[in-house]
């Protein structure tokens, strides 16, 4: 079978069967591209995954682009990304077509009145595990607090807050490195 077709098929399968976002997709992507198709090796997959997580954008799309590129170059990356985006695109479009016309229906209104507060809870819950895994201390826990103040109270765009966080990380690294160099020099003398 044509390799473009294989790429499309694999990623369309991944895109249609993962509910719950990028992280739920990872095991499925691994089974498909490492174990079944053998497009990439295990260690290579872990590298791709690490880089896809640190690059901006949608994780699943990033990984598809990476693997598509590895298999068939730029064209392969387009085919793979298209495969993983198309199923959700089609499903959501169908829902949008229907939902826009059923929005005023009393049953739908009741159901979504119940769902909305639950969605807010679902967004809040991961904060607990994220805060734990980030190992925040007295000083670093000020960063999320400050971010909330800037975004919620002052209405500053999250984009600026992300850029500020990146700068902070770079400054911190730069200064701790130069301090380390001074210490090392001090040892040598």
């Amino acid at each position: 079978m044509n390799q473009y077709l294989q790429l499309f098929e694999s990623f369309a399968k991944i895109g249609s069967f993962t509910i719950g976002g990028g992280y739920a997709m990872i095991p499925l992507i691994k089974t498909e591209v490492v174990d079944k198709r053998k497009w990439v090796k295990d260690t290579e997959f872990l590298d791709f995954l690490a880089i896809s997580q640190s690059a901006p954008g949608i994780l699943a799309i990033n990984i598809s682009i990476f693997i598509g590129e590895k298999v068939k170059g730029t064209k392969g990356s387009i085919v793979a990304a298209l495969g993983s985006a198309l199923p959700s695109f089609a499903i959501i479009l169908l829902i949008a077509l229907f939902f826009e016309s059923f929005k005023e229906n009393q049953l739908v209104v009741s159901i979504f009145s119940g769902i909305r507060p639950a969605v807010v809870a679902l967004i809040a819950v991961p904060l607990i595990s994220l805060s734990k895994s980030a190992k925040l201390n007295k000083y670093t826990s000020l960063i999320p607090l400050l971010s909330v103040l800037l975004i919620v109270l002052l209405g500053i765009s999250p984009i600026w807050v992300i850029l500020a966080g990146a700068m902070l990380g770079i400054f911190h690294y730069y200064f701790s490195k130069s301090r380390l160099n001074k210490l090392k020099k001090g040892d040598g003398e």
């Binding site: 993962t18 976002g21 699943a60 990356s77 829902i95 909305r116 639950a118 809870a121």
Partner: protein, 174 residues
């Protein structure tokens, strides 16, 4: 022109998304609800609910949905979805090309260490900004919020089950 605006907005969202779908909610919310006023907070909450119940990444789902509801046709969906993926293409293809330099780059790692705590703030902001009078009209909504929180955090129930249960609760209570 609405398509150009959709393109610019979703390109920006794709470019600045770090830390997965939940962090992305904050960016989409700021651009689509606060800056452009294309949809209101409760419709945005509905879109997140639908995204969580359907397959695929939340970024693709919301771009498709919002693109459609803003422009009223499929072209809007295509433009928004294409735009949200485009930065990934540019960046990942560049990285694939400069693979060795990017792998274990100390400066990138430092920047990402700085972004990590910000992501927590972003997700918290998204949740706080969704606490509106439309989403929480009365005490019953707070009961649902509490039950969903406990079911998801303590009971480790998956989001789809929580949303379905909340929908049934809504049907009974409202």
């Amino acid at each position: 022109m609405i398509y150009l605006q959709l393109f610019i907005s979703f390109f920006q969202i794709g470019l600045f998304t770090f830390g997965g779908g939940y962090a992305m909610i904050s960016l989409i919310q700021n651009e689509v609800v606060v800056n452009k006023g294309w949809i209101d907070s409760s419709s945005f909450t509905d879109i997140i609910a639908i995204s969580q119940m359907t397959p695929g990444p939340i970024g693709i789902n919301s771009a498709t949905y919002i693109g459609y509801s803003v422009s009223g046709n499929i072209l809007g969906s295509i433009v928004a979805t294409f735009a949200v993926c485009l930065p990934s293409f540019i960046i990942i293809l560049l990285i694939a090309f400069l693979y060795k330099q990017f792998k274990n780059n100390k400066w990138t790692e430092a920047a990402l260490r700085g972004i990590k705590p910000v992501i927590i703030g972003l997700i918290a902001s998204a949740a706080i900004l969704l606490v509106t009078p439309e989403n929480f009209p009365d005490y019953k909504s707070w009961l649902i919020f509490g039950a969903a929180f406990i079911a998801s955090w303590w009971g480790k129930q998956n989001p789809i089950r929580v949303i379905i249960a909340a929908g049934i609760a809504g049907l009974l209570l409202y």
